[in-house]
């Protein structure tokens, strides 16, 4: 039993959960988005700052479980400093890993600490937790580049 849990709660994840990187909302930024996991109420506000085609900063304020918090921290480590194209390709790789139900062997070269989330893919209910920040980042990046926002963000005020 606990080996199953250990596959999910890798030390890397618990470390990022306890000491999240790049936390907080910072200036400057071109786009800010607010995403919610409606199933459980986890929320994130995330800003991106893109400069000369490079992800100059990703800053955030978030509440949620260990998986969502750790994946936010790992995301920022991975994308900050990369060319936007490159970062989007990492995003795609992470997305595929998460949707693989555990059938994909993660590539440490590309995903670095994010390989720790391979175990999450076997917990379908937790995949949304791991993806919350990643979806928010992609959305914010699209907005900052003036391309179309992701459908998932279309929400209306009652």
């Amino acid at each position: 039993m606990s080996s199953e849990l250990d596959a999910l709660y890798q030390e890397i994840i618990l470390d990022h959960y306890k000491n999240p990187h790049h936390k907080g909302l910072r200036d400057p930024f071109e786009a800010e988005v607010h995403h919610v996991n409606p199933t459980c109420g986890d929320e994130i506000t995330l800003r991106v700052h893109v400069e000369d085609g490079t992800v100059a900063d990703v800053s955030y304020d978030a509440v949620g479980c260990s998986i969502s918090q750790a994946s936010t921290s790992v995301l920022t480590d991975l994308v900050i400093g990369k060319k936007v194209d490159e970062a989007l390709s990492v995003h795609q790789t992470f997305l595929e890993l998460m949707q693989s139900k555990g059938t994909i062997e993660p590539d440490e070269e590309v995903l670095e600490d994010a390989i720790a989330f391979a175990g999450v893919a076997k917990f379908p209910a937790r995949v949304k937790c791991a993806l919350l920040a990643w979806m928010a980042w992609k959305d914010a990046t699209a907005q900052s580049l003036g391309t179309l926002p992701e459908p998932a963000t279309s929400s209306q005020e009652a």
């Binding site: 919610v36 409606p38 199933t39 379908p124 209910a125 459908p151 279309s154 209306q156 009652a158």
Partner: protein
């Protein structure tokens, strides 16, 4: 043998447990009321039972083992339905309780504040051959908003009068809604052509595919965008699925522009007492616990149909309908209401028999094990057009055999003699 029948028809019939039922007199049951509701193959029933006995849990919100299984089964059903109609995106498939709710969802939300809001002076166009479920919601919308309801009429052979198009489709026309296949006349309407002309004046097109989905292959993604409706609905129980579920397919553009219909759990993003924000599609239109086991059953149903092949189901319907039209033509005093060319119609055949009221026909047929429908078939305006109150309708499906059509014709002859029509 009749050309076009499903190969292995007898094997297919074994999939449907109810077809082994007999009448009180011990005779076989001849079910010719499939346009009203279809029978269910064992695989649909078994899939629902397996879900209830082994995987039952709420979806999305329940994240434990059973919750994950139920969610996968439910969302898997959405994928299957999306594939069945060739939906461009799976998120465009909304589960409702039946086709009627799907039509009301669109009609009601078009009356509320939003990009497409219908208002005084606007025109909503429907047809005179619609099911009540595609008339009343639009009457209610017009009544609430001050818009005007107008309609295509049809000719005595049951075909829409397209010469009215120029007059009906103007820049005032906001919505055009029509049935793909009439549940009373059987007519197959030129949906692509009407959609193109409606789009040309900027109207939204809503298609009632309640009778089309069971019989015709549908591939929305393959349609030319200008000929593709903006919304299309059908109902689970007519495509060998369970009751309690219907489908609204809507283009992402339309569904995002419409305000939400029902409010509650699952359709929200964040709720505060002072105001709420809503989820994206499909959740936005699925308030509350969805019809979970029904979706799972519907998924199995459309898979069953796809395994048979909708082209084959369609060919079967056409063959049986042609055979029925021939047989009925031999019954003295019988008049078919609707097209008599099987190439232009579906499998619902409504008729009058001079001298006997449809109720009485239905009862005589029923005592001989032949189940048909008598009444207005929820299409009273179409009946009025023919100057009748009601009619008798025989409607076949993929499990119908030529012998069952023979039984219908025999029973009608018996009815004539029972009521001494030739005396």
């Amino acid at each position: 043998m009749l050309e076009g029948l499903l190969p292995d028809l007898e094997v297919v019939r074994k999939d449907f447990p109810i077809l082994t039922r007999t009448t009180p007199g011990g005779g076989p049951l001849v079910y010719l009321d499939s346009a009203n509701t279809s029978q269910k193959p064992q695989v649909v029933i078994d899939t629902m039972v397996d879900h209830l006995e082994r995987h039952n849990a709420n979806v999305a919100r329940a994240m434990h083992m059973l919750g994950a299984e139920a969610t996968e089964a439910f969302e898997g059903a959405r994928d299957k339905v999306a594939a069945f109609i060739g939906a461009p995106e799976r998120s465009e498939v909304i589960f409702t309780k039946n086709a009627s709710e799907a039509l009301n969802l669109v009609a009601t939300t078009l009356g509320w504040a939003g990009e497409h809001q219908v208002g005084p002076g606007d025109v909503v166009v429907t047809t005179e051959m619609e099911h009540h479920s595609n008339i009343v919601p639009w009457q209610m919308l017009c009544q609430r908003t001050g818009a005007e309801l107008r309609w295509f009429t049809f000719d005595e052979d049951g075909y829409l009068d397209l010469s009215q198009a120029d007059e009906l489709l103007t820049e005032r026309t906001k919505v055009v809604t029509l049935t793909w296949v009439s549940n009373m006349l059987g007519t197959i309407n030129p949906v692509a052509e009407i959609t193109r002309r409606a789009h040309a004046v900027g109207a939204i097109v809503v298609v009632d595919a309640s009778q089309a989905a069971p019989q015709l292959p549908i591939d929305l993604a393959a349609m030319a965008p200008e000929e593709r409706p903006d919304a299309l609905v059908f109902t689970g129980h007519k495509v060998v699925g369970p009751t309690g579920i219907g489908v609204l397919w809507g283009s992402r553009a339309l569904l995002e522009a419409l305000p939400p219909f029902l409010g509650g759990g699952e359709m929200i993003e964040t709720v505060r007492m002072t105001g709420s924000t809503y989820a994206g599609i499909p959740a936005k239109f699925e308030a509350g616990t969805p019809p979970i086991v029904e979706a799972v059953g519907l998924g199995a149903a459309v898979e069953y149909l796809s395994a048979l092949g909708m082209e084959h189901v369609h060919a079967h319907e056409r063959a049986i309908t042609g055979y029925a039209l021939e047989g009925l033509a031999g019954v003295k005093g019988l008049r078919v209401l609707g097209p008599t060319d099987p190439a232009h119609r579906g499998g619902a055949v409504s008729f009058e028999l001079a001298g006997v009221h449809p109720h009485d026909i239905m009862t005589v047929l029923d005592t001989r094990g032949v189940a048909v429908r008598a009444g207005h078939h929820c299409a009273r305006p179409a009946h009025e057009k023919f100057g009748v109150q009601s009619s008798t309708r025989a409607s076949s499906y993929l499990y119908t055999t030529p012998e069952e059509i023979d039984a219908l014709v025999d029973a009608l002859e018996y009815t004539r003699s029972y009521f001494r029509l030739d005396d």
